[in-house]
């Protein structure tokens, strides 16, 4: 009796293994997706700030309706380029044009899409705004909170500490006034911060030569190294901002999308004290899909062209290709429309940005 069962089981298990192998290789015919169509498993490696978007059941459903079961892992955008077997994934989805360029140079890609973008922002708190008033680092212009990069660099140069700011009784910490960023060696958002900081340090010009890069390097090194340990992803410090409060991260560099995403959820995670500041000058992060395989290319195309996915990108705070879609979604969710941005700079060319990051890396 027992033996019979064993044999039956072995046979069935063998079938199971075959099934699993077939499934594992991507083709599934087990009733997923649209009627009569197979669902293909598509694997991507993405910047962490887009994980909430990909985790959204609505996003997953639309992709599945189109025949794709998209599964993502997160990594720092700059780190993505260095992964072993990167092209085993169907696509990579780093967070900016320079980060995409780095991947493109090291790997064979079969398509690039920029479905949405997000300006960089500094998430902070009203008591911090108050504390920083005498420094001019945070100011209001027509009601919009502005993070003045020039004033910030001056404060960092002085090694300004919170408890040394005149009349600051709201945040008397004895640590330096620093924006918390992710690890500039690994993550894109920090590289975007480097873009604006180096622009200002270079006399309001995009760094465009080795000589300029070398000149601004010591100042750029400080804004990252003085922070001490920094996380490899943008999502981690932003989550600290949300849950651990101003003691840990009085100011955190984030994508505007991260903040808006939380606001639109209306889950109370953005408290009355929390406020978003826009750096002056501003830089846009252009989230770019790079396809390594056909299904990856299709997913990239869908993200850019499917109206529902464009709308869902806006629901997660990203700025889709149409401003109208963005405005409508915000209105529908009763979230105040963020300002139209005027003072926008381009990030430095890939080589220049890379040269500065490598320069900073050497100081670690």
């Amino acid at each position: 009796m027992k033996r019979t069962v064993g044999i039956v089981l072995a046979v069935l298990l063998a079938i199971g293994v075959v099934a699993a192998v077939v499934i594992g290789s991507g083709m599934v015919g087990l009733g997923g997706g649209v009627a009569g169509r197979d669902v293909v498993v598509v694997r991507g490696v993405i910047g962490s700030e887009k994980k909430p978007f990909f985790d959204d059941p609505e996003v997953q459903q639309i992709l599945r309706d189109n025949g794709y079961d998209v599964q993502v892992e997160t990594a720092g955008s700059r780190q993505i380029a260095t992964l072993d077997n990167l092209t085993d994934y169907d696509f990579a989805f780093p967070s900016s044009a320079p980060a995409a360029e780095r991947i493109k140079r090291a790997n064979k890609t079969s398509g690039a899409f920029t479905p949405f973008s997000s300006p960089m922002a500094v998430a902070t708190y009203t008591p911090i705004e108050k504390a920083l008033k005498p420094t001019g680092v945070l100011t209001r212009e027509n009601g919009v909170l502005i993070f003045d990069v020039d004033k910030y660099l001056k404060a960092v140069d002085q090694g300004l500490r919170w408890d040394k700011i005149p009349k600051n009784s709201t945040y008397p910490a004895s640590k330096s006034v620093l924006v918390t960023t992710s690890d500039v060696r690994k993550s894109n958002s920090a590289a975007m911060f480097l873009s604006v900081a180096s622009y200002v340090a270079n006399g309001n010009n995009v760094v465009s030569s080795k000589a300029q890069a070398t000149k601004v390097l010591p100042q750029m090194t400080r804004i990252f190294l003085d922070q001490g340990y920094s996380e490899s992803s943008t999502e981690a410090p932003f989550e600290d901002y949300l849950s651990l409060g101003k003691g840990k991260t009085p100011m955190v560099l984030a994508y505007e999308a991260q903040f808006l995403d939380r606001q639109m959820r209306g889950d109370g995670s953005i408290t009355d004290e929390m406020v978003l500041a826009y750096p002056k000058p501003e830089v846009l992060s252009k989230h770019t899909v790079l396809a390594f395989k056909d299904p990856g290319r299709e997913v990239g195309r869908l993200l850019s062209e499917d109206p529902q996915l464009q709308r869902l990108a806006a629901v997660h705070g990203f700025r889709p290709q149409s401003r109208q879609v963005f405005t409508d979604v915000l209105k529908e969710r009763k979230v105040a429309a963020p300002p139209e941005l005027v003072d926008i700079i381009e990030p430095p060319a890939y080589e220049m940005l890379e040269a500065m990051i490598v320069g900073i890396e050497k100081q670690y």
Partner: protein, 544 residues
């Protein structure tokens, strides 16, 4: 994928039903996850997360993912992970922090997604009467204020060994960063400059330990002597002590006003994990960050939730946790630990009571003993890099070798000088090399003699961490009984009673006897029955 798994499970289920036999195997239900065959996620972890067991039990019910953990110290674990030794054996790693790990060459290519699961700052738990006297019940002190209190003799404390345990390591980084006064990440120069103040701060350390849990136990055991006023430990450990009934006086949680270092317990996927394990990891971490799980973690373990929307309960107070910058260079961190070991901390003085009875000749036991002791003299050349080097006999340390068989032999005392320690370590090595075995086993007579040796020592208990280490491969066969030793122990002065006796279960030694000894003296029993005597000796170093 899920659907497929359900289908396979369904087939198995059909087979079982048809044949009408009951199997030990469980079957998946139609939802494809949840009850039934759990996926086992193999995790290399720090012992700090052991207390999550009830939470993980619930996680298994909800997600179908079972966590199987092996525990290794923070720094040792980090080195193994960075070297790729965890790849293949483990699917994920779970320590109180990834900060040290991230400083090691090779770590970033090993690690995939990191998910913070909870938070707990390293703080001071100060006896309420002492906190009141110092005014810390109403106003939080800075690290400088704390140092002043130590200097004035108003505060003593217990803290774990920074090379063995993350809470001590975090405290060391915190106090060094705060006292250096820079406000930014620490540099080697600042460590050197802050050394005099740090030495003062560490002069107040009266208890040391290789683990946060044992430190709490040791604190509980010495209550009533008023020798120790405070514990430096995770906030969660202190809150849990306060919740239980082991304290005669509650501990006031003091969060230094100028900042702390907070553990955030990132459950971290290894890039080498298989797809199945990656999926399991995602299911588990998604659940761990639900409000339900975060609430459970807060209730069960007194750690702070890390997802927005889950409110802190009243135990935590409302103070902002100012986070100190953590050094981002490995040299700085290693330099700091080294400075602590060789210079800043109080030195240790240890009597090694080593069994050289006849039975040690069998199965190469004497050779194993020699090898284990040699790992502490640096004779094996393992000391240039890696955390093992922190196990080597340190500058200013006093090592007393007292071999015993039918009776204790004359002890040999060595003190490692600040400069030229190699020579003395060589002398210790020579003494170890010269050990030979014969005779009976007089454990308790020899331990009593070890206490007398410490009583006669010119290094007082105020100047050093005193301890006794007993290694034996058998039962007590000659000399006095445990009862005789106990009577002697009770007659000793308090400062001598505070000296713990650590012992190692080895060969045919009697665990019960050794545990009695540990209970009596506030020591601990280490296990080397699985064969690795060297590892046991190194582990004990964290307690000396």
């Amino acid at each position: 994928m899920r659907r497929a798994r359900a289908l396979i499970a369904g087939l198995v289920f059909v087979a079982v039903t048809i044949t009408g036999c009951s199997f030990g195997t469980t079957t998946g239900n139609s939802s494809g996850s949840g009850s039934g065959d759990a996926v086992v996620l193999k995790v290399m972890a720090g012992s700090e997360v052991k207390d999550l067991e009830p939470v993980l039990q619930r996680a298994k019910e909800v997600t179908g993912v079972e966590v199987a953990a092996d525990y290794t110290g923070t720094l040792t674990g980090a080195e193994q992970i960075a070297a790729g030794q965890a790849d293949g054996t483990y699917d994920a790693v779970w320590y109180s922090s990834n900060r040290y790990l991230s400083l090691l060459e090779g770590s970033s290519s090993r690690l995939s997604t990191q998910t913070k699961t909870m938070a707990s700052p390293v703080v001071l738990g100060v006896r309420e009467s002492v906190a009141r006297k110092l005014g810390w019940d109403t106003k939080a002190p800075t690290w400088k204020d704390i140092t002043t209190a130590v200097k004035n003799g108003s505060l003593t404390y217990g803290m774990t060994d920074p090379s063995a345990s993350n809470s001590g390591f975090s405290a060391l980084v915190g106090v060094a960063t705060a006292l250096s006064g820079g406000g930014a990440a620490l540099t080697q120069k600042q460590v050197d400059a802050a050394a005099p103040q740090l030495r003062e701060f560490f002069s107040g350390q009266k208890l040391t330990s290789g683990s946060s849990g044992w430190l709490a136990d040791a604190y509980v055991n010495q209550q009533g002597t008023d020798r120790v006023d405070a514990l430096i430990n995770y906030e969660s450990v202190i809150l849990e002590l306060n919740r239980g009934d082991r304290l005669t006086e509650k501990l006031h949680v003091v969060i230094p006003a100028d900042g702390v270092v907070t553990a955030d317990y990132p459950l971290t996927l290894l890039r080498s994990a298989t797809q199945e394990k990656k999926d399991a990891y995602t299911r588990l971490t998604d659940w761990l960050r639900t409000p339900e799980a975060q609430q459970l973690i807060q209730e069960q373990t007194a750690r702070r939730p890390v997802v927005p929307g889950v409110k802190l309960d009243s135990r935590f107070g409302t103070t902002d946790l100012i986070e100190l910058p953590f050094p981002n260079r490995r040299e700085v961190v290693d330099g700091l630990i080294n400075a602590y070991m060789q210079d800043l901390r109080r030195p240790s003085q240890t009597v090694y009571v080593l069994d050289v009875s006849g039975s040690m000749n069998s199965r190469g036991r004497l050779d194993e003993l020699k090898k284990a002791m040699s790992s502490l003299t640096g004779a094996q050349g393992q000391t240039s890099q890696g955390v093992d080097r922190f196990a080597t006999f340190r500058a200013r340390e006093t090592v007393i070798l007292m071999p015993f068989s039918s009776r204790p032999q004359t002890p040999q005392t060595f003190t490692i000088p600040t400069k030229g320690g190699e020579k003395v370590r060589g002398q210790i090595q020579a003494a170890i090399d010269g050990l030979t075995a014969q005779g009976d086993t007089s454990i308790f007579t020899s331990v009593e003699e070890a206490y007398r040796v410490l009583e006669r020592s010119t290094v007082s208990s105020d100047q050093a961490f005193n301890s006794i280490v007993v290694l034996t491969d058998g039962q007590n066969t000659s000399g006095q009984s445990f009862g005789d030793l106990q009577a002697h122990y009770e007659s000793m002065p308090n400062d001598l009673k505070a000296v713990p006796t650590f012992s190692i279960v080895f060969g045919a030694s009697d665990r019960g006897e050794l545990e009695q000894l540990a209970d009596l003296t506030g020591g601990r029993v280490f296990d080397a029955t699985s064969g690795d005597l060297t590892a046991a000796f190194r582990e004990i170093r964290g307690y000396q």
